[in-house]
């Protein structure tokens, strides 16, 4: 299958002078195929979120190459990167990061309205459909302060999907949720993946990672190991087995 993302020798160094430099990512190499559901795990400070933001163009890499759908990100201007994020990528954040000055429905449709040939009615209809799928239709005209964490994350998912992106990036998407909500969110994401959208998550929750098909382990700024779990299918009722397998592997990694 064709790779949607190819990362070669990616490095990210923070700090100005040599004395104060901090090397967060060290020569990271990674390929993600279209339709894959990948998670990245590792201890705090291993560079998981930094990896996510560098391969999505939110942050600028120091060295290396990131090719997304055949485009080298380091050669793109800020404007071009924005366009790429707008049309081809979706983001889900741990703290939701929704705009507090507009209602929930507007949060979902906002990025779609910036499209080149945006037909507002079509966008509104698509948003409504997504809200139905994620069971949050009644929140359309509510402010973000009037929804629970689980509901807000569903809003985040709808926002990420509104432009029918090629890939969704999630930074600890269940980090701020209780276990029930976390479970529901993961079921939604698994369903989205089944329909063909590539997903890359950062997480330190085994239960979340065990619903993905490939787990990458990061340590000290590099991917040191990976584990194939295969596609998650709810009907198989094998979630516990997957969690056990993953847990055993992580213990071997020292996590």
């Amino acid at each position: 299958m064709k790779n949607i993302l190819e990362v070669k020798a990616l490095s990210r160094i923070y700090g100005g002078s040599k004395k104060n430099q901090y090397n967060v990512l060290k020569n990271v190499n990674l390929q993600i195929e279209k339709g894959e559901f990948v998670s990245v795990m590792g201890p705090s400070g291993s560079g998981k979120s930094t990896l996510l933001y560098n391969i999505s163009g939110v942050d600028r890499m120091t060295a290396g190459s990131v090719i997304f759908n055949g485009q080298e990100l380091s050669t793109l201007s800020e404007k071009e990167l924005s366009k790429l994020r707008l049309h081809k990528m979706g983001f889900i954040f741990q703290n939701f990061y929704l705009l507090k000055n507009i209602c929930i429905f507007d949060n979902i449709v906002l990025s779609a309205y910036f499209g080149d040939n945006a037909n507002r009615q079509e966008i509104n209809d698509r948003a409504m459909e997504l809200m139905k799928k994620t069971d949050i239709v009644e929140l359309a005209n509510h402010n973000i302060t009037q929804a629970s964490g689980g509901q807000l994350q569903r809003v985040g998912i709808c926002r990420a999907l509104i432009n029918d992106p090629d890939i969704i990036f999630g930074d600890e998407p269940t980090g701020a949720l209780n276990s029930k909500s976390a479970n529901e969110i993961m079921e939604i994401l698994a369903d989205i993946n089944r329909r063909g959208t590539t997903i890359l998550l950062v997480t330190h929750d085994i239960k979340v990672a065990s619903k993905t098909e490939r787990v990458l382990f990061m340590l000290d700024g590099n991917i040191v190991a990976e584990q194939q779990l295969g596609k998650y299918v709810k009907a198989n009722n094998d979630i516990q087995a997957r969690e056990k397998r993953l847990s055993g592997w992580l213990m071997k990694m020292g996590f």
Partner: protein, 797 residues
């Protein structure tokens, strides 16, 4: 964040002043742009307040000194015609209020016979009355530029400061007096500081010559006029003295003026400018205070979590407040000090005109302490405002700050327009507009600044347009006509006037004409005392005035009063008024009240028979036919009716108000530049602070793919909309309140209802478009820092 808390905690552990300085320095360096803008606002405020208060103190001192040095008379009665000095001396010696009396002879020489400096053309058609005098002996001294009494020898002359400025005259220049039969040359040896006739709005100027030269002039050329001057034993009884003189049989063929009027007129131009400067400085202070309040709020917002941490680890609230306050004390203190120090170098520029006309008074402690006290007060206002805002600390609990991490917009959760319901507007424009309405309380500051700056620009510009407009003639008690001919008191006055009328009557180029004669009559005032009144007689329907109330007199028992006369005589429309003409009482009815800033604002108009015996001046106003060249006609009449003064109305206005217009224009330009600078600084500061506040929201939008330009457009939209609301309201307020304030000010001079003349292209197109371009560019530059907002950085922080 960690270093911030760490440093502050260290400070309180060590209680070190060094740490405080370090914290303040770090804060200033972190927010260089914002600190700089705040500094500029406070500095300009301090500078203007120091300059303005210095001007007021200097003006007061210099004026008092000038009036004292020149021994200004308390009361002056002007008189042209015959008089008996013995009668005056007898009356004065027996009057209990008279301390001393002096009669000054002035030789009035027509401008057409006077040549100043290198000018080869005479002072024809100048509105100034040129008078030649000798130095006085007991009061009303004419002083030189060092405020010393002028002495001149034969062949020497001292020229009024007005001509030093307007004709660029210098010591050694020549002054020639020449008519067809007589000629006399003088060398300029000094310049006259004349406490009575200094300012340009006084239409008489006195040249000082030697006694022998004076006698020569008196014998050969010009008409003698008199100033009958008194100093009183008790100045508080001035109005009693005035009434006493008016009721006497002493000469009074001319206006009477007193020392209060001298003070006012001398102080007028510079006093007005000083008041404007202090006012603008005060406005800057308000803006600076509001900016600091906003900045402090934004700082608290930014440091909300850190403040919570400090409270959580046990640092006392008053100590946390002290850190924030220290920063603004240092900033405001430094900026105020710099403003004051720079004012010491700029003071001379602003007091130059005043120093020239009034002289330099000996320095007193108030001249140093006044501006310092004013600046100190301004500084205190800033600090007290800061302390008020810091009360917000009282509401911050450690737990809330740590959990929520944000102060919030303070915006109640109202339903505002939804993006998805907007069908046509561009997304960014919609979001910009929406944000403005949602957070209008915050944008209020920017709105206020735009409104005030619009007023600072619009009101003076409208006022200057009004003064420059031909219609301003209505505020001078004159109807509009193409040409105006002024005939002053000379020999064969009446024949010349009659000849003039005949000539004009037979001139086929003339469409309409109106002869007017201003004579002095007696009126019985509200206390039953007779006092002088100047009444112009003629047909006032020919070149009509605009009346405040009522209409022109049509019958011979009707009279129209100037605004000030109507106030002083306490007469309204329909009220009876008694005149005394040749010893007989004549009952009149007031039919109209008009505005007049000339002749001290005290004139009247009636259809009385011409009274040549007490005539003060003769005027003929006329309109020429459309095909006639007005300039050529003026030249013709100037030759034929010599020595009458012939001008068109624009020329008359320019000569009377030219200096005032020039000064006002200069300061209006300064005001416009200041207002534009404030708009730029304020827009820059406000948007920068807003971006700091909205940093997380901007990062989210960027992360989901909204471009930088799109985000910039949202802020620019908000700023432009606020600007347009500010301009619109500023335009309305200037036309109403602004116009009212100008009218209130001018009511003391005789014009109580000024209507601004507005140039629509300037006011409704050029000015708003210019400001919109400026605000757009400034907004664009100030939102450049949006680049730095990234989710990635937010996560790191």
């Amino acid at each position: 964040m960690i270093s911030f808390v760490h440093m502050r905690a260290q400070f309180f552990q060590s209680n070190s002043r060094f740490m405080l300085i370090k914290i303040i320095k770090e804060d200033f360096l972190r927010k260089k742009c914002i600190t700089l803008v705040l500094f500029i606002f406070i500095w300009i405020s301090a500078l203007l307040i120091a300059i303005g208060s210095n001007m007021i103190v200097e003006l007061s001192h210099s004026l008092s000194d000038l009036l004292a040095q020149s021994r200004i008379p308390h009361f002056i009665q002007m008189h042209s015609g015959k008089m008996n000095q013995t009668d005056i001396e007898l009356w004065a010696s027996s009057h209990p209020l008279v301390q001393s009396e002096q009669t000054v002879e002035m030789i009035n020489i027509d401008g057409s016979n006077v040549y100043l400096g290198e000018n080869h053309t005479a002072e024809i058609n100048s509105v100034m009355d040129i008078d030649f005098v000798k130095q006085n002996h007991s009061m009303d001294y004419l002083l030189n530029l060092e405020n010393q009494i002028i002495e001149v020898s034969r062949g020497e002359i001292a020229v009024p400061i007005f001509y030093m400025q307007s004709e660029k005259m210098k010591i050694g220049d020549r002054v020639r007096i020449s008519n067809r039969i007589f000629e006399m040359d003088f060398t300029v040896v000094n310049f006259v500081r004349d406490a009575v006739m200094n300012p340009s709005i006084v239409h008489s100027k006195r040249f000082v010559v030697n006694e022998d030269d004076f006698d020569m002039l008196k014998k050969n050329i010009g008409e003698v006029e008199y100033l009958i001057e008194f100093q009183l034993t008790d100045l508080s009884k001035l109005s009693e003295f005035r009434n006493s003189y008016q009721s006497s049989k002493l000469p009074k063929m001319g206006p009477a003026i007193d020392c209060h009027l001298f003070k006012m007129i001398n102080a007028l131009t510079d006093g007005l400018i000083a008041a404007v400067i202090v006012f603008v400085g005060f406005l800057f202070n308000i803006v600076a205070t509001l900016c600091i309040k906003f900045t402090v709020l934004a700082s608290i917002e930014e440091d909300y979590r850190e403040i919570g941490v400090m409270k959580a680890i046990g640092i006392q609230q008053k100590d946390i407040k002290r850190i924030y306050l220290s920063k603004y004390v240092v900033l405001a203190g430094f900026a105020s000090a710099v403003g004051y120090l720079i004012s010491l170098f700029l003071n001379q520029l602003f007091t130059a005109n005043m120093m020239l006309y009034l002289g330099v008074a000996p320095k007193s402690i108030l001249q140093y302490s006044g501006p310092i006290a004013a600046v100190a007060l301004m500084f205190l206002v800033v600090i007290v405002s800061c302390m008020q805002v810091l009360r917000k600390f009282d509401n911050i609990t450690a737990l809330e700050a740590l959990r929520v991490g944000t102060l919030g917009d303070g915006v109640a959760e109202k339903k505002y327009f939804s993006l998805h319901k907007s069908k046509f507007l561009n997304v960014n424009i919609f979001l910009g507009l929406r944000d403005l309405f949602r957070r209008f309380k915050m944008f209020r500051l920017l709105f206020l600044v735009f409104l005030v700056c619009s007023l600072v620009i619009i009101v003076p510009v409208n006022f200057i347009n009004t003064i420059k407009s031909p219609g301003f003639i209505h505020y001078m008690g004159i109807g509009r006509s193409d040409i105006r001919i002024d005939l002053r008191q000379t020999e064969n006055m009446i024949e010349r006037f009659n000849d003039m009328i005949t000539y004009i009557q037979n001139d086929i180029d003339v469409d309409l004409f109106l002869p007017l004669v201003a004579s002095q009559f007696k009126v019985i005032n509200s206390q039953g005392v007779q006092e002088n009144i100047n009444i112009e007689t003629g047909d006032f329907t020919v070149f009509p005035l605009e009346y405040l109330q009522g209409a022109a007199p049509r019958q011979d028992n009707e009279i129209a009063l100037s605004f000030l006369n109507s106030e002083e005589l306490n007469k309204g429309i329909g009220d009876p008024l008694q005149l005394v003409i040749d010893g007989n009482k004549r009952n009149m009815v007031v039919t109209g009240i008009y505005q007049d800033v000339t002749q001290g604002g005290r004139t009247a108009k009636a259809r009385l028979p011409i009274h040549h015996e007490t005539a003060l001046w003769y005027v003929v106003s006329l309109d020429v036919k459309p095909y006639v060249n007005i300039k050529k006609k003026i030249d013709e009449y100037a030759k034929v009716f010599y020595p009458a003064r012939v001008t068109d109305l624009e020329g008359y206005l320019l000569q009377t108000l030219g200096n005032t217009i020039e000064q006002l224009s200069f300061f209006t330009i300064i005001g416009i530049l200041i207002a534009i600078s404030v708009i730029i600084l304020m827009t820059f500061l406000f948007l920068k602070l807003l971006i700091v506040k909205d940093c997380s929201q901007i990062a989210i939008m960027k992360s989901i793919g909204v471009s930088l330009n799109a985000i910039r457009l949202q802020y620019i939209t908000s700023a432009l909309l606020v600007l347009n609301i500010g301009i619109a309201l500023g335009t309305i307020v200037s036309k109403t309140i602004g116009q009212g304030m100008v009218s209130a000010f001018f009511s003391f001079m005789g014009a109580s209802r000024i209507h601004f003349v507005i140039d629509p292209v300037q006011s409704y197109f050029i000015f708003p478009m210019t400001l919109m371009v400026i605000v757009t560019i400034t907004s664009f530059l100030s939102v450049a820092s949006i680049n730095k907002s990234y989710i990635a950085h937010m996560i790191q922080e």
